[in-house]
Subunit: 409 residues, 2 copies
């Protein structure tokens, strides 16, 4: 079965099977009056001019086509929402006030522990449907709201089930080291032992995660504690990821390069030695501009990273506390407006480099022969327009592995 | 014909037929387990508990219902788009570079002059459809990309036609004083004469606008020139509006209060004397946070205005240059995050106060007996959630004058 997308006004895609660095991040292929031939769920060929024959034709009507977007950082699986903290904060409540009223991350932990796996799946599935309709065809999903072995495994099993039944490709990350749970507040060493000696071996034995992540931050885990967790993960075959330098520069980005993390996340206050370490270690910088916007925080030094040869990915950070946003189109616009990336760099950041940040660059993130036929037809004449039309959902037809999975025309 | 919306989880609405000031801006009515009875396109009654009988029932399924949103500042009618300026600016092009390559506001003027009225209507209608689907049921629309009598009238006729044929209520504003057109660059006085002696009389004679607006700014019109235009408008029955203190404080907000402007727009660098003048003059401050975000500009001192008793409205500023965004849901979120308004203040700002900013507070902007039955059923349990879910379109059923005009369930 061959399906062809014809009359593509602009086909814009990075090319390659690994992350794009430096000036190469902005070097994408753009074809005018193009077509993409898909066969057995993969891209068979892309070209311009007369289109080859196929069993089925999808007319792109002179619109922009890009690879399906890849969201390389989400906390997809959680119980409850925390909308009331917004008004509390605006009325002057401190973080401690919110904690005292039952808010903050530990309230999400309670809700996640209380929810059944099925409830978590149903809630996340609604988010996946929306992400797909907005043009995201692959996403990473983290545990990290369990903070005990059973609930962390429950979150990861929910991710596995959703990956099996939803068109979205889900890539699972174990984030048991997201916070110290209340019951271990006086026994950090005990929680680290639980993570390294019980949780990580169980996650690895059941094949429930590809990555092991840690929140390296003041009030969460120190760089030394983070190293212990990530090395334990590596010993069990889990590739390191790290939340680094979001609020305070506590050594996370330096550690990222040293342990060979596939990606480091946030990086708002990343120092030059952190950028250098990531460049040496081959780490992708996964930047989260919607979180900066939501928190009123500064924006990560994306241009410095590109200048230093660190590949930059952009992701949503979807979660109920610091970023209740799952829209990568808004992230793309913010990538231009706040990181000063040009649209070509932004496209690479939400496709090929994002795929590289989650170990999916061999099969996703670009439109070229042999890769998955994941693509989006946008209500846009060109890539600039997609980045420019802030706040409008321009995704019209979303194709996953050669099949239309969302359409809003 | 009676229609009732039942099972409203939260009915949130400001109350009144004029703008809400100071602490009253945040005092809204919230009813739980509520209903709204509509008859002949207007609200007959709203209440809680057992619902009265009706001919037709719409089940809100425990969701949030608010008044339809009112967008009190749009430049809806224009030819072309200017997406390529985004990449040019990011690559370092100055405003003059962009002008030299045919960009900037005068490129929109050229495209608008070149377009037929029908072409302008078709383009704007697509935007109106999207605005309606996002929950906006009333909008203001400005001319101002003609800068000659014929094209300004063509824009205003397009607005009149769209008001007649589209569910959206459109309220027209004459903004001939948007810029000095190229052909008058050496003859400002001549352009002012054209505005005051030809354009305004023609607009008024044909009943094509309710308001006369002016762009009071360095590089556009001085405060004294603005006063001349607004007084000429008043003499012909056009109520003053003014783009004031967006980039430089050139006296626009002070002038707003002095001439009794119904609203002043932008106000990013509004000085204390401008706030005081608006408070004395009864002027609504119409703030445009998406423009600040798009331009990387500061955000207007909204809390100072509320503190001084100036009613605050929030609007999109939808236009092809400085704010290609028409999504009031994003504007609401930015109202919380960047102006530090609480969700209740934000709701008033995009409903009743916005209606007051365009002379529509008698018939729109709140859900109470006698007002138009313009309302939105949101995929949200409460108002906080609507402001919090940044980037997600939560509008599910949009009702205009008692009739469902958009539905995405």
């Amino acid at each position: 079965m061959k399906t062809i997308v014809t009359h593509i006004g602009m086909l814009a895609t990075p090319l390659g099977r690994g992350p794009r660095r430096g000036r190469l991040q902005g070097q994408i292929q753009t074809l005018r009056d193009a077509w993409v031939l898909m066969e057995e769920g993969t891209v068979a060929q892309a070209g311009t001019g007369p289109a080859p024959g196929a069993d089925q034709t999808i007319d792109a009507r002179d619109r922009l086509v890009t690879p399906g977007l890849v969201d390389s950082h989400t906390h997809l699986i959680f119980g409850g929402w925390r909308q009331h903290e917004l008004g509390m904060k605006l009325r002057g409540a401190s973080y401690l006030d919110i904690l005292a009223q039952g808010g903050g991350i530990l309230s999400t932990v309670s809700a996640t522990r209380a929810a059944s796996q099925e409830e978590l799946e149903d809630k996340a599935e609604k988010a996946l449907d929306e992400m797909l309709s907005l043009g995201t065809t692959t996403c990473e999903a983290k545990s990290g709201y369990g903070l005990d072995v059973d609930t962390e495994l429950k979150q990861l099993r929910a991710i596995r089930e959703l990956d099996a039944r939803h068109p979205m490709d889900l890539v699972p990350t174990f984030l048991g080291a997201h916070a110290i749970p209340a019951e271990h507040r006086e026994d950090r060493a005990g929680y680290l032992r639980l993570l390294c000696q019980e949780a990580i071996p169980a996650v690895a034995a059941q094949g429930l995660a590809r990555f092991c992540d840690v929140f390296c931050e003041t009030g969460a885990f120190t760089a030394e504690e983070s190293r212990i967790v990530l090395e334990a993960g590596k010993a069990h075959g889990l590739i390191p990821k790290i939340h680094a330098d979001e609020i305070d520069p506590t050594g996370g980005s330096v550690l990222a390069g040293e342990v060979g993390a596939i990606s480091a996340e946030h990086l708002i206050v990343c120092p030059p030695e952190g950028i250098a370490s990531m460049a040496r270690g081959g780490t992708v910088a996964c930047l989260l501009p919607a979180t900066s916007l939501y928190l009123g925080a500064p924006f990560a030094p994306a241009r410095d990273m590109i200048g230093a040869g660190v590949p930059v990915a952009l992701a949503s950070d979807f979660n109920p506390g610091s970023c209740p946003c799952l829209d990568l189109q808004l992230v793309m616009t913010l990538g231009c407006l706040r990181y000063r990336l040009v649209p070509e760099e932004v496209l690479t950041a939400v496709t090929l480099n994002a795929a590289a940040a989650i170990g999916m660059a061999e099969q996703a993130g670009s439109l070229e022969p042999g890769k998955q036929a994941d693509l989006v037809i946008w209500d846009a004449p060109d890539l600039d327009y997609l980045c420019y039309r802030m706040g409008s959902d321009l995704a019209r037809t979303v194709i996953k592995k050669g099949r239309i999975v969302s359409s809003s025309d």
